[in-house]
């Protein structure tokens, strides 16, 4: 029976007690281990921040500071003090995203952060690693969430573009990860034309390219003549879909790339005409498959729809419990 009593879950983060450091804390701390660059996991103001070089680059872009950072490459093990060692392993969520393996007193604990199991041309794939305690997310922790193959969803977008040569397709996509993945998948499906961007997506796309993820021809909507946008694919943050900004576009087909699009009512609430079920989180099948493959003695569930995942663990005779963490958001995936 795993105890891992040296790991404490507080409402604002996971505390690694012997090393006195925190994983993805929601408030400033002396030392933070950060799994990935999304704002609800990577906050500014820590004394020292340990993360992958890509995540640190993303944080530097967003918060403008590079002080007190310590890069950790995938597979690299860093001693944290207090007899704790930490290893960053790819999580397949977004560029630079990591699971963090913690070892102390003969026990192995993995914090997955956010993850997915499907191939993604913009980041390294999830690495299955054995451990005693698996601390997993459960954003899409309901059996109704089955993300279809990404090719099908990108196919829907391309079909909508072809069917509406006088309109444009406006795709709401989260600025970090989702936007770049949608562009990369469009390229993989053979879409060679310009992809137009809302200004809020530009810097992150450029950073991805600097870090070696090729995204093809990208231009800003603000630089376009109106007729250039007919028949074009345009990406914007989800919040801009129904904002005044979109009024300048030629009769957009409103699309959104998100795992939540699986549920019709969620898509309708957003006023989405073309729901694209593209998620950077594990769906139900990936979550349960991961627990089975990692096969931990105990599973702790951090955030999302943990009730159903706990029920699944119970049905499969697995020890599990929910951690009450605050501050993680899942609305825009």
């Amino acid at each position: 029976m795993a105890s891992a009593s040296w790991i404490r879950a507080e409402p604002w983060g996971i505390h690694v007690v012997p090393a006195d450091c925190w994983i993805d804390p929601a408030r400033p701390v002396a030392r933070a281990l950060v799994t990935h660059g999304h704002a609800d996991h990577a906050r500014s103001g820590h004394g020292e921040t340990l993360a992958t070089p890509e995540t640190l680059a993303i944080m530097a872009l967003r918060y403008g500071t590079g002080e007190g950072v310590r890069p950790a490459h995938y597979g690299e093990t860093l001693p944290l003090g207090g007899g704790v060692r930490a290893t960053w392993l790819p999580a397949g969520h977004v560029l630079g995203s990591a699971q963090i393996l913690l070892e102390h007193a003969g026990e192995r604990v993995i914090v997955t952060g956010d993850f997915k199991r499907r191939p993604d041309p913009t980041c390294a794939p999830f690495l299955v690693t054995s451990c005693d305690v698996l601390i997993t997310e459960a954003t899409f922790g309901l059996p109704v969430f089955r993300h279809p193959p990404v090719e099908e969803e990108v196919g829907k977008l391309l079909a909508a573009l072809a069917a509406n040569p006088d309109r444009c397709a406006l795709v709401g996509a989260y600025a970090l990860g989702k936007a770049q993945r949608v562009i990369a998948e469009l390229r993989r499906a053979g879409h060679g034309g310009t992809v137009w961007l809302h200004g809020a997506l530009e810097r992150m796309c450029r950073l991805y390219e600097e870090l070696g993820v090729a995204l093809g021809d990208l231009r800003l909507v603000s630089d376009a003549k109106k007729d250039e946008l007919r028949g074009a694919a345009i990406l914007c943050p989800p919040s801009a879909l129904s904002d005044r900004w979109s009024r300048r576009l030629p009769d957009p087909v409103t699309a959104m790339a998100s795992g939540w699009m699986r549920v019709r009512q969620r898509a309708r609430q957003r006023g989405v005409e073309l729901p694209l079920i593209i998620s950077d989180h594990a769906d139900w099948q990936e979550l349960t498959q991961t627990i089975e493959e990692v096969n931990p003695a105990e599973t702790w569930v951090t955030h999302g729809r943990e009730e159903a995942l706990l029920r699944w663990c119970q049905l499969h005779q697995r020890q599990a419990r929910a951690l009450a963490l605050v501050g993680y958001e899942d609305e825009d995936d």
């Binding site: 059996p143 969430f145 129904s242 549920v263 019709r264 009512q265 006023g271 005409e273």
Partner: protein, 531 residues
């Protein structure tokens, strides 16, 4: 089934009426018979498969999925059909070929309470999640995708380039999959005949009078009653009651339907007995009382006793097999007056004509009618035939001037479709006392039209610049802007905290010049309640 489930899916995500219409038109042109007939029946709620109940779906699922996981999923998704289609276990190995819509409908209609538990799963196994969703929606008859019968008929007419009045007329005698209807419209055959079926005939409608005046030697005047316009049809031993949209509402007003027992088509206003609306001739209650009975599938005895319904007759279209629609109005009126003695006075009365010396006299009578909760006056050309729809110059409706009240903008919500980037739905309130003494605003209504596109832009900017709070798509404003709100009537209601609700409210003027504390109080609005 694939084309049908794709249609359903597209309709779910489409908010604009025109875009929905286009989707149905395209489908009806492309899909073959009899599949498109079944689809049309499904969209208009004309199919019923009594063996399949929502509980059937739940039982099928909880045999296959852990009941706790099912319940959590159902709570989250909020729709049984969608939950079931997403949770349905994928069969091992390749799927059998997908059933066609016709095959699906035939299979569903053969199912019994006993066989459904084994046969419905076999169909579900052959479908993907979208197909499963369409199948369950079809089987349980709960489409809820905002397609009215009227829209479906319009789509049918557009798809095959025939007149929508003809579609309305021929539609009602037909049963799904409407073989005769498609044979006529899509394949150039003879129109369907249905002499012995109680068919709906499209209503004759009126234009607003606006500022025009008419000569009362050419036009007859009668009251415009505030109920539901209905058509009573008796044919082949059956009586049906149709609403303005052509929906059969006989089951809600069985006592009225039962009271007509000879072949006829009558046009009138459905009302409920009460003290308002023409008290001297028996009297009808306000529209609010009638609403107590609308939309109910079953009507209790108490409801029948408390809200007895009757029809105030305007016109006769067909009588004893004779089509009177080509006759001038004054001759139809004579026939109508003569047939009143054949009708039960408890269920029918005659809408009286207003005798006025001239137009000014009529205007004075109309103005004085405010207290009777009558909607206004109808003006009918004495020589007008009964024709479907609105024909210029024949009938006019002359509504009373609306009631007006000054309210303060409290909340604004984003619109949908073309208006999705605009705050265009406005909730407004009145003061519950003296604003100088710390009174508060209470919401009294909500309106989303009455303003021009230019005014909408201005209002949108005002909302964005005066937001004090956000609740999802709703913004609370600083309550500084006054609207003059026009409405037809106001009645008691529990919908708003003020205890009042308006009928047909619209923004009449934006009073940016008026300070908010000068807006009206709840008590002035309450004084306008008439029931």
């Amino acid at each position: 089934m694939r084309a049908f489930s794709a249609l359903l899916d597209a309709l779910v995500y489409t908010t604009s009426r025109n875009a929905k219409l286009r989707l149905i038109v395209d489908y009806l042109r492309a899909a073959p018979d009899p599949h498109r007939g079944w689809a049309l029946a499904a969209l208009t709620g004309a199919l019923d498969f009594p063996a399949v109940k929502p509980a059937t779906i739940r039982n099928l699922l909880t045999e296959r999925v852990d009941p706790v996981l099912y319940a959590l999923s159902r709570d989250y998704v909020g729709d049984t059909a969608e939950t079931a289609s997403l949770l349905w276990p994928q069969p091992d190995g390749p799927r059998e070929p997908e059933p066609s819509l016709d095959e699906t409908v035939q299979a569903l209609s053969r199912m019994t309470r006993m066989s459904v538990m084994s046969e419905l799963p076999r169909l579900l196994d052959r479908l993907d999640a979208n197909g499963g969703f369409a199948l369950i929606k079809l089987a349980t008859g709960a489409m809820r995708i905002g397609i009215s019968a009227r829209l479906a008929k319009l789509a049918f007419a557009q798809a095959f380039d025939v007149a929508v009045e003809d579609v309305e007329e021929y539609w009602h005698g037909q049963e799904p999959p409407y073989t005769a209807l498609f044979a006529w419209a899509a394949h150039g055959g003879e129109p369907p005949s249905a002499e012995h079926v109680p068919l709906f005939r499209p209503f004759m409608l009126a234009h607003p009078l606006e500022d025009a005046e008419v000569d009362l030697t050419d036009y007859a005047a009668e009251w415009k009653w505030d109920g539901i316009r209905v058509q009573l049809v008796h044919a082949g031993g059956e009586t049906r009651l149709y609403s303005r949209s052509g929906d059969n509402i006989s089951h809600t007003f069985l006592e009225v339907a039962a009271a007509l027992s000879f072949p006829a088509v009558l046009d009138g206003e459905l009302l409920v007995r009460g003290a308002h609306q023409g008290g001297e001739q028996g009297g009808a209650a306000s529209f609010n009382a009638l609403q107590q009975r609308l939309g109910r599938k079953t009507v209790s005895k108490a409801m029948l006793a408390d809200y007895p319904a009757f029809v105030r007759l305007y016109d006769v279209l067909i009588l004893d097999g004779e089509d009177l629609r080509e006759l001038p109005w004054h001759l139809r009126r004579e026939r109508l007056e003569a047939l009143m003695e054949r009708l039960d006075p408890a269920r029918f009365d005659l809408s009286a004509l207003i005798s006025a010396d001239n137009f000014e006299h009529l205007a004075a009578i109309q103005e004085g009618a405010r207290d009777d909760a009558i909607e206004g006056v109808m003006l009918k050309r004495r020589d007008s035939p009964y024709v479907a729809g609105r024909r210029t110059g024949l009938w006019y409706k002359w509504k009373r001037d609306p009631l007006l009240v000054d309210c303060v903008l409290m909340y604004a919500q984003r619109g949908s479709g073309k208006r999705s980037s605009f705050y265009s739905d406005f909730t407004f309130g009145c003061w519950d006392g003296d604003p100088g003494q710390g009174a508060e605003l209470l919401p009294v209504g909500k309106a989303y039209f009455g303003f021009t596109d230019e005014e909408l832009k201005w209002l949108d900017r005002h909302v964005r610049n005066h937001t004090v709070n956000r609740f999802g798509p709703v913004r609370e404003t600083d309550k500084s802007l006054v609207f003059e709100v026009a409405f037809d009537s106001v009645h008691e209601s529990r919908r708003h905290k003020s205890g009042l609700a308006m009928r047909f409210p619209r923004i009449s003027r934006i009073r940016a010049d008026k300070p908010a504390h000068e807006a009206d109080r709840i008590e002035s609005l309450r004084a306008l309640v008439r029931d």
